[in-house]
């Protein structure tokens, strides 16, 4: 088993804050050093917002856990400066196969579009993910950014006051207290913060269990996602096989509702399942096993007073769609720049309402898709199973039935249609995919890519037209990126940003979502769009 689980990455160290007579005030305190807490902290540090991350542990997560990362989160990670090692280490895949009983009924190819820096999907164990993020934190610290990781710091009480949050912390050397302008809870689906504040977490728990067995084995399965409905080795249930780096294979078995968890997790029982699936002679090492239940839930609001929730702490979905960590990173992508503006005093605190609006929209989309997948994978009534099996029976021979087959609808980025930060679309003939609220589609530009050229602030992207080099409105500056379709050998820029329009000006937010677009430059329109995108209109 990998030693990476066992090495303390951010061991407890005494902080000068623990000597203070009155609690030291920080701008932002993050609870939880998982992928979401670290993602947020790195994003804030890049915005020069000092941040302290508290975690009761001091190591990467035990076991692979989240393994599947989609294009949009990879783009976010790339912006944070830690995407490259993840893509390098990760296993890229595009093909999936679906089996029903003994037969392969169809396969699918994600057919990633050309001209994007990031692949459609990579699989990577969560412990690598966290390891690379901690390395990035260390790099930023070396550059002098004020980002602090405090292991062995367990938050035990929270007081939400009008102008700050009071935090009580236990450490191996006893308790101490802190204050924060803003507290961000990234402490997972069982969020102790949520519980301490007595906040709701409403939704659906599906009465079924899945056993995860991550095994290390030399196997000649291709790098594809294989999903079985009702296979001979797991009758009446489903199963999934997916590859991770280092010859680690993720295997999920649906095992039903009335089970003895302890019994199921015994190595000899897992071994029996694995041999039924992979053959009696396989050689493997069990790296990690776990049992989980499908749940689709979210908080009613994602912030209360000065406490903000992100990732699984705010919303939880069933797996098989890669919508957990992927949507959590979209939360932090959305939140970091808003907090920065609020702390700078260049946006009102009510800008946070747009975090709720946009990310609840994203969470609801994920919950809807995830609930539908779950209903297909684990039909809960006789008639639901009859239709499910009818779809699977038809799908082998008939193309029309394949779109109904639902073994997980894979994560796509949220488009913030109807967001209060959007300016109504002003670009006649502009492509649908880059409308206000959408994340910017990537485009190859010479030796690089468009997303690399969008800085950490607001950008005025002008294509084939004049514009000012910078506009400052209410303390918020948008900087111009001038592009021309004359330097667009692949035609992707025109196709993804102009459509049938001869020229365009886009206002792009720091999280690379489109705030507004127009046929040509008009400074008054840009000023209005900046005010709107910062919660002032």
């Amino acid at each position: 088993m990998s030693k990476i689980f066992e090495t303390p990455l951010y061991p407890y160290e005494r902080s000068p804050d623990q000597e203070a007579v009155t609690p030291v005030r920080h701008k932002v305190v993050v609870i939880g050093a998982g992928p979401i807490g670290l993602g947020l902290a790195i994003d804030l540090a890049l915005h020069d917002v000092p941040v302290v991350v508290l975690d009761d542990n001091d190591k990467v997560s035990f076991g692979s856990r989240a393994v599947c990362y989609a294009k949009r989160p990879l783009e976010i990670l790339d912006r944070l400066g830690c995407g490259a090692p993840m893509v390098d280490k990760g296993v890229e895949w595009n093909l999936g196969k679906v089996f029903f009983d003994q037969r392969q009924i169809y396969d699918f190819n994600l057919l990633p579009e050309d001209g994007h820096k990031q692949p459609a999907f990579v699989n990577l164990q969560q412990y690598y993910f966290e390891d690379y993020m901690v390395a990035r934190v260390r790099e930023l610290q070396a550059e002098g950014k004020r980002i602090e990781l405090r292991g062995g710091n367990k938050v035990v009480a929270i007081g939400d006051h009008p102008d700050h949050v009071h935090i009580e912390i236990e450490t191996p050397e006893g308790p101490y207290e802190l204050e924060a302008d803003w507290l961000i809870a990234c402490d997972g689906a069982n969020s102790p913060t949520r519980r301490m504040m007595g906040l709701d977490f409403v939704g659906k728990v599906f009465e079924d269990n899945f056993l995860i067995a991550d095994v290390v084995m030399e196997a000649d399965f291709p790098t594809e996602r294989w999903f079985w409905f009702d296979p001979p080795f797991n009758r009446g249930q489903s199963a999934l096989l997916h590859k991770q780096p280092d010859n680690v294979w993720r295997i999920d078995f649906q095992i039903g509702w009335d089970i003895d968890r302890k019994e199921e997790l015994k190595p000899e029982n897992i071994d029996r399942r694995l041999r039924a699936m992979l053959g009696p002679d396989i050689k493997y090492e069990l790296e990690w096993s776990s049992i989980y239940t499908f749940q689709c839930r979210r908080m009613e609001r994602f912030h209360k007073g000065r406490v903000i929730f992100a990732g699984d702490a705010a919303h939880q979905v069933s797996p098989f769609g890669a919508r957990g960590a992927n949507s959590g990173l979209q939360d932090t992508d959305n939140l970091a720049w808003k907090l920065k503006l609020i702390l700078d005093g260049t946006a009102p605190e009510t800008l946070l309402d747009s975090y709720d609006a946009e990310r609840i929209h994203g969470a609801d989309e994920n919950i809807l898709n995830s609930t539908r997948s779950t209903d297909f994978i684990t039909p809960k009534s006789e008639i639901s199973r009859i239709f499910r099996d009818a779809v699977l029976d038809l799908a082998e021979a008939h193309e029309f039935a394949r779109p109904f087959v639902n073994s997980g609808r894979l994560s796509v980025p949220a488009i913030y249609d109807g967001s209060p930060l959007n300016t109504p679309d002003g670009l006649d003939g502009g492509p649908e995919r880059s409308r206000p609220g959408a994340p910017c589609p990537d485009v190859p530009l010479g030796a690089g890519y468009l997303l690399d050229r969008l800085g950490g602030g607001f950008t005025i992207l002008s294509i084939d037209c004049e514009a000012e080099e910078a506009v400052t409105e209410g303390g918020v500056t948008a900087t111009r990126l001038a592009l021309s379709t004359k330097d667009d050998p692949t035609g992707a820029l025109a196709q993804r940003y102009l459509g049938t329009a001869p020229s365009a000006v886009y206002l792009i937010r720091p999280d690379q979502h489109v705030a507004a677009r127009f046929p040509e430059y008009d400074v008054q329109q840009i000023r209005f769009a900046i005010r709107r995108a910062t919660g002032k209109e």
Binding site: I386, F387, A390, L394
Partner: protein, 64 residues
């Protein structure tokens, strides 16, 4: 307005009805249920129009 055809539309209705019943002959209840489900899905795809399908569901539900 209603787009679902609710007036007679099949030539020789007796023939079709007999064919429908004959298709189920000799099948167990489970096999018949499966056949009906495959038939519904196949016909639904042929119709395609989402508004018509929603209307058809409403008609079928209210008639029972």
């Amino acid at each position: 307005m209603a787009k679902l055809t609710l007036t007679r539309n099949i030539d020789a209705p007796d023939d079709f009805y007999a064919e429908l019943i004959a298709a189920h002959e000799g099948l167990s209840k489970a096999e018949s249920d499966a056949l009906n489900a495959r038939l519904v899905l196949t016909l639904a795809n042929h119709i395609g129009d989402r508004a018509v399908l929603t209307e058809a569901l409403a008609v079928a539900k209210s008639a029972g």
